[in-house]
């Protein structure tokens, strides 16, 4: 549900439309330059936030806190989006509620508690560490630890390389004969 702006441009002579009549090298360089610009600019692109100007708080400090909170609250409709990224109606209501709580003087923890009281741990994009989630939190490090220990044991067990037996006199003679220029 991210916003996408599509403005297909069909104007003639746009630098993106190759023109055979002007198939000169300088023209190609020009095209390359602009293409590079487009690529460079796209590196700065990030997903558009769904927070609308009319929702924002006049106090920039409070608004910044609201953004921080909004980014870690999960939209209950879109599952994989934060409420700041979602255009869903419910997400907008939640953003409004976050701002109202902040204006009322709540600290961040209280705002999170407010949402958890209504939607459960589900709304937290970073789930809390508790009985139901320990496997989630510890599973990764645990597997890494097991793999590390296994690797260490395997490395210790590995037999040292035995140097190959040296050549017999007969073999040495043949080798010398072969290597003779």
């Amino acid at each position: 549900m991210t916003r996408q702006n599509c403005h297909p441009e069909r104007s003639e002579g746009s630098f993106l439309s190759p023109q055979r009549s002007l198939g000169l090298r300088p023209r190609d360089d020009n095209f390359r330059f602009w293409a590079l610009c487009v690529v460079m600019l796209s590196l700065f692109a990030f997903p558009a936030s769904a927070v609308e100007p009319s929702e924002m708080l006049p106090d920039p400090a409070l608004e910044a806190r609201a953004r921080d909170i909004g980014r870690s609250l999960r939209c209950v409709v879109c599952q994989n989006q934060s409420i700041d990224d979602s255009n869903a109606e419910v997400a907008r209501d939640m953003r409004r509620a976050v701002r109202e709580r902040l204006v009322a003087g709540d600290d961040d923890q209280k705002v999170f508690a407010y949402m958890v009281a209504r939607y459960g741990d589900y709304v937290l994009l970073k789930p809390p560490f508790k009985a139901g989630t320990w496997a989630l939190w510890l599973g990764g490090p645990l597997v890494l630890l097991i793999a590390g220990v296994a690797l260490l044991i395997a490395a210790r067990r590995r037999k040292p390389l035995v140097p190959p037996p040296s050549l017999s006199d007969e073999e040495q003679r043949r080798l010398n004969a072969l290597l003779k220029p």
Binding site: V76, V77, E89, V90, D93, V116, A117, R118, G120, Y122
Partner: protein
Amino acid sequence: MNRRLLFILPLLTLVLMAGFFAWSLMAGRDPASIGSVLVGRPAPRLEVKALRDGEPPLTDALLRTGKPAIVNFFASWCTPCLAEHPLFTRLATRDGAVIIGVAWKNKPPEALAWLKRLGDPYKFAGADLEGRAGLDWGLSGVPETYLVDGQGIVRRHFRGPITERDVNETILPFLKGGR
């Protein structure tokens, strides 16, 4: 022995994963379900202005009458609401259920026209135009339905339209037993 382990390990992994997938598919597990924290707890506050002209606003007192109540959030623009509507009509007329309807993000004239067209099963009806009550009730959309017992404790929370089966297996026993 070591070599045999090497052969068995991938097989074991496969069996474990297949088992997990089979369980995920068959245990009726819905990863999209967001659950509800309200069940077993006192109902959130109900402060909604009346949908119908000249009626008093909805208050918490409606949920602590000693009689079980059904709270249903709906909207005239919502198709699943249309689907479940006849069930509420029947619950109200045949089974005498107390149903409290809240029109969520729905202009009162539109909600009223919808109820006029389809019949109005709601003993009390409120209009939550801005979705504030919805947020307090942990709403993720419409329709959602809550069974609230006589002491004001939420016993069930249905996200999405209720079905004939919900009525027979959950709602009717709840209305009789109050749980």
